[in-house]
Amino acid sequence: MTNNLLYTKELMHYFKNQPYKKDLQNYDYFGKASNDHCGDNIEVKIKVNEEGEIVDIGYKSDGCAVSQSYMSMLAEDIVGLNISGLLKLNDNYVESLIDLDLTPSRKNCALVGLRAIKDAVKEIDDRFDN
């Protein structure tokens, strides 16, 4: 895939519209990850209710458009899920969020958000185990 085909209208839409790119004052889980290859850093905060359902997400990122767009898509997709459900997310799931054929180096960019989320839930609260 050439790089011009990477910056599709759809990818750019998610880059320009990131409703969850915000600070969260009250949160239950915090995680971060970075991609040394291109300086992508993502910090994510997750708020859950008493049943363990994700009610809000806030993330901070100044990385590349690919990492931010995928983080934005991921955030929209996981609000409403049970927190324990995040443990089941994998790379394939993230890559399937949008129809793009990523080069290996750009796949790393796309997966930074997932890695930040995984970091947030690595010591998941017992209350919410299925």
Binding site: T2, G39, D40, N41
Partner: protein
């Protein structure tokens, strides 16, 4: 030498990138290698290849002569007094680590001060950081203005304990050319009332290929440089050591080629430069580096710098015509090489580099191994374009056109 024809000396410019001409603007990362240098390497490997100093046969004699002639050519290139003052290493990083170990271990003690700047490449920062930790010495940092000037006038350090100063001749992130002679004089003056003479290490990785560098007139004790940043091959570089301080230098790596005598319980070591070149050297690399020095000298370093400065002016002017471009460091070309770090507002630099790639333009995006400076500026990453002798206005035009393309995609 007509600069407009110079691309013909480099086969790589026959290459297309996404069907576009190659507009290579990543010279601060590495330069391209001319056919002449490649031919000199092939000539050695196909006609004279043997190990140096270790045989009494024709090929070994030829290889040894070629290797030592290369040392002389490189020594002349940087203005060393004798060829023994040049040690072949595998690059500037290796050279800096060599000084930190071979000089640093022997001469830095607890409480001593090592002085570096906040805008050094990691290779000229981390070795000193670790040396200071090992020896319980103090690492002091020279601040840099936003224009890239080293702020040495109000330095508040213990000059009575200053043992080593290390800084870059040219910044790889701001492109600024430091006034080495005056910086050395200034610091020496401050130390003189304490009867202290610190040693000076100069990182020449971004300077020796862009303009004439003469180590004697600069007054430094050590100079480091890399072959691949001066039209030479990868895996070779040089370290200049002033012969007046040879007695201060210990060992770096141990092994064959650097010893005098070895018994089962003890070893003694040879003289500089061979004492600091353990193992089989990168013979073809050294020959390639010498050929690169000849290539640059034939064109004339002054001609190269003048060409580059004209292009630097054009690059800066064109970038500044665009809206939303932030340029870091000086906005004028007078005390710079043709290197500009910048960002386009609203476009992460990695994406900018990717889109430029599709336009045939190669730039670098990241932190350029200068993390502390990026942290201080609270910038995540920057884009960096750097020109060299084979670049022309068409390359700059392609960069500008690529930036405009990126702005369309990102709707900036």
């Amino acid at each position: 030498m007509l600069f407009k024809d110079i691309k013909k000396e480099f086969k790589i410019f026959n290459r297309k990138i996404f069907d576009k001409n190659l507009h290579y603007l990543d010279n601060a990362a590495t330069t391209q290698i001319p056919d002449k240098v490649l031919n000199a390497i092939i000539e050695f490997e196909t006609k004279h290849r043997a190990n140096v100093k270790r045989g009494n046969h024709t090929l070994s004699e030829e290889a040894t002569n070629l290797y030592e002639e290369s040392r002389k050519i490189v020594a002349d290139f940087i203005g060393a007094s004798v060829s023994d003052e040049v040690i072949f290493t595998n690059g500037a990083t290796d050279s800096l680590n060599l000084v930190a170990i071979a000089w640093g271990e022997k001469n830095i003690n607890e409480g001593d001060v090592i002085l570096v700047t906040e805008v050094e490449h990691h290779s000229n920062f981390v070795p000193w950081l670790e040396l200071a930790k090992r020896k319980n010495a103090k690492l002091e940092i020279i601040k840099v203005s936003d224009e890239g000037k080293l702020l040495i006038d109000d330095l508040n350090i213990d000059f009575s304990k200053l043992k080593l100063v290390s800084f870059a001749h040219v910044s790889n992130v701001l492109g600024v050319v430091n006034d080495v002679k005056n910086i050395v004089k200034n610091i020496k003056n401050k130390c003189s009332k304490f009867n202290v003479t610190p040693r000076f290490v100069l990182d020449g990785a971004q300077s020796v290929s862009h303009f004439k560098v003469n180590v004697k007139s600069l007054g430094v004790d050590f100079l480091v440089f890399s072959g691949h940043k001066m039209c030479g091959p990868f895996g070779i570089g040089g370290l200049y050591i002033n012969r007046n301080i040879f007695n201060e230098i210990g060992e770096y790596k141990y092994g064959g080629g650097m010893i005098k005598e070895v018994s089962l319980t003890n070893a003694t070591y040879g003289k500089i430069p061979h004492k600091l070149e353990a193992g089989t050297p990168n013979i073809s690399g050294a020959i390639g580096l010498a050929e690169a020095c000849k290539f640059l000298s034939d064109i004339g370093l002054e001609n190269i710098y003048n060409h580059e400065k004209k292009l630097a002016k054009y690059l800066l002017d064109e970038l500044q015509k665009l809206n939303d471009v932030i340029i870091y460091g000086p906005k004028t070309y007078e005390n710079k090489i043709g290197l500009v770090s910048f960002n386009v507002m609203g476009i992460p630099s990695h994406d900018l580099a990717s889109i430029l790639d599709v336009n045939g333009v190669a730039i670098r995006s990241g932190q350029h191994c200068v993390m502390p400076w990026h942290t201080r500026q609270t910038i995540s990453t920057t884009a960096r374009a750097s020109v060299y002798l084979y670049n022309d206005e068409k390359d700059v035009d392609a960069l500008i056109s690529g930036i405009k393309n990126a702005k369309d995609i990102f709707i900036v």
